[in-house]
């Protein structure tokens, strides 16, 4: 399927999801769905560097926070509209991805992972000490009284925006995966030296993946201040963003764009249900348990499992 065709179908699906949401009166649904959509974007973004290229990034909260705090900053400065904040946050996080990539992508394996973990800590310290964006106290982002496009609530409006952003992230991820660039990234993942010896400009491609991945992670964060109306460092830099963004692609399958989507929808929804029905503290425990289960029993995730099943049936 060509990219344009896929984008069109994805858009139709997105509009369908948006249309269906118009019938929903329960406001809590949007809070739950918003959380899932954040993870759809984050895990799709993580997978570009982690799944396609094989570089495990523990710095997800840092990129997410760059998106969120760009919004806070621009809101303080000139009460910029949502659209401007989304674009600015995405660009800033992309630049951060490029810069961090340049500094760390010469490191391999576990060293790269440690460097990205350090990045999150450095960013947290930076934000905590920056009073203009609220420092440790946090900052309020008050949404205007009237909701754009005559929608019922800001939460519903932001849900619609996030559906569209998640669609964009998925289309970008698939486009990268199926392109010549995607082949290069997969070659790097399988064997970096052999990739270089096949003419693949490994450093350049890794930087590209880091930039795209960082940008999309930042994009996920840009709407957060509006949605919760309040942002403070410990919630934005929450470890659960890192853990979930890694666990979801692992559970779904890391070699294709569908994997993170499946993983995020399944795990994200499960977490939301558990949060309401059982306990709000069980979230990370469930993620952890499922992660251990999948890594030991189905290391290639749900996708790998389906592939194996198909192959068995063919015989």
């Amino acid at each position: 399927m060509s990219n344009r065709r896929f984008a069109l179908i994805a858009l139709v699906v997105a509009i369908g999801i948006i249309a269906a949401s118009l019938t929903i009166k329960n406001a809590y649904f949007f809070t739950a769905a918003y959380a899932v959509l954040v993870f759809v974007i984050l895990s799709t973004a993580w997978n570009i560097l982690g799944g396609y290229t094989g570089y495990v990034n523990f710095g997800v909260p840092a990129f997410f926070a760059i998106g969120a705090y760009t919004t806070v900053f621009l809101h303080q400065l000139l009460t910029a509209p949502l659209f401007v904040n989304v674009v600015a946050g995405t660009v800033m996080a992309g630049l951060a991805g490029l810069g961090v990539g340049y500094l760390t992508l010469r490191l391999r394996g576990v060293f790269f992972a440690i460097a990205t973990l350090a990045l999150a800590v450095v960013m947290l310290t930076f934000v905590v000490n920056w009073t203009y964006v609220g420092g440790a106290r946090g900052a309020y982002v008050i949404t205007p009284r009237e909701v754009p496009f005559g929608m019922e609530s800001w939460k519903h409006y932001l849900y619609v925006v996030m559906v569209l952003l998640a669609t964009l992230a998925t289309v970008v991820a698939r486009m990268l995966e199926r392109s010549t660039i995607g082949r290069g990234l997969a070659a790097i993942r399988d064997d970096e030296l052999a990739a270089e010896c096949a003419g693949v400009p490994t450093l350049r491609l890794k930087l590209l993946a880091a930039t795209a991945s960082g940008a999309l992670m930042g994009m996920a964060g840009t709407t957060t201040p509006y949605f919760y109306a309040y942002v403070e460092p410990t919630s934005v830099f929450n470890l659960s963003y890192a853990v979930n963004s890694i666990a979801m692609p692992v559970i779904g399958g890391m070699t294709s764009w569908v994997g993170p989507l499946i993983g995020a929808v399944l795990l994200g929804t499960l977490q939301q249900i558990v949060q309401v029905t059982i306990s709000s503290n069980l979230n990370l425990l469930i993620t952890g348990l499922l992660l251990v289960l999948f890594v030991t029993l189905a290391p290639n995730g749900i996708l790998g499992w389906v592939d194996a099943w198909k192959r068995r049936r063919k015989r």
Binding site: G184, A186, A194, E196, G199, P201
Partner: protein, 246 residues
């Protein structure tokens, strides 16, 4: 006199106090078949690494196709028309066999094809053609990680061929293969001659080296001790000493 395709002069590489390569000169002409031999640890693979850029040499220059490539990164050198296979096969294990060849086709071959860049579809056709040549056609859709050792070595060579090189360096492609499999691979490398591709064959199997090479260079302890026709080299007392001892 026209410049040879590859001219490595005075290449030196040391790891701490150990000189893996000490002032080595090596030339390969257009379309020439060179055998590179030497005892284990004599620096053959290190020399290949310095030529392809996976290791940076400490002194000397490497010129390829009329330009100094000493400062180029590996992928830049490959894109000029160098290609190598690895002694220990390094397949792109998650990809199918045919997709393994499409990586060098799309990146390396496309780069020196100039205006005639290779499209995704063309890359598949050409990859299949190469697989037919090396006898891996039936396994084109299999995952390369699951191949047998013999097939992996063939894949390793096929992937080097897919870069459409001017100079192909085959690093012990035949170690551990049976006699008839060795003949297969020699035949394959001889076919490269027909395409005007120069080949450096690093090998321990003397039968293969003697049969294949127009010229043989011998390394011992990081120094080149002989360079000439196969007959000359075998008769050379230094070479006999290096291999058999005093």
């Amino acid at each position: 006199m026209a410049e040879p395709l590859l001219r490595a002069s005075g290449v030196t590489k040391h790891f701490g106090g150990f000189y893996a390569l000490d002032n080595v000169d090596l030339e390969v002409g257009q379309g020439e078949r060179l055998g590179l031999i030497g005892p284990n640890g004599s620096g053959k693979t290190t020399l290949v690494n310095c030529i392809t850029g996976t290791l940076r040499h400490d002194a000397g220059t490497v010129r390829f196709d009329g330009r100094d490539i000493s400062q180029l990164p590996t992928h830049g050198r490959i894109r000029l028309g160098l290609a190598r296979s690895f002694q220990i096969p390094k397949p792109f294990a998650s990809m199918s066999v045919v997709d393994n060849l499409r990586v060098p086709l799309l990146y390396a071959a496309s780069a020196h094809a100039g205006a005639a860049r290779i499209s995704e579809r063309q890359s598949r056709d050409e990859a299949m053609a190469i697989l037919r040549e090396v006898g891996l056609e039936a396994k084109a859709e299999e995952r390369s990680g699951g191949l047998t050792q013999v097939d992996m070595r063939k894949l390793e060579l096929a992937r080097a061929i897919a870069a459409r090189p001017k100079l192909l360096i085959s690093d012990e492609a035949m170690a551990g293969l049976s006699s008839s499999e060795v003949d297969d691979i020699i035949a394959l490398l001889l076919k490269m001659k027909a395409r005007g591709v120069a080949v450096i064959m690093i090998e321990h199997i003397m039968r293969a080296v003697m049969k294949f090479s127009e010229r043989v260079a011998v390394l011992d302890a990081g120094k080149k001790i002989a360079d000439g026709t196969p007959q000359e080299v075998v008769a050379n007392p230094d070479v006999q000493r290096a291999y058999l001892g005093e």
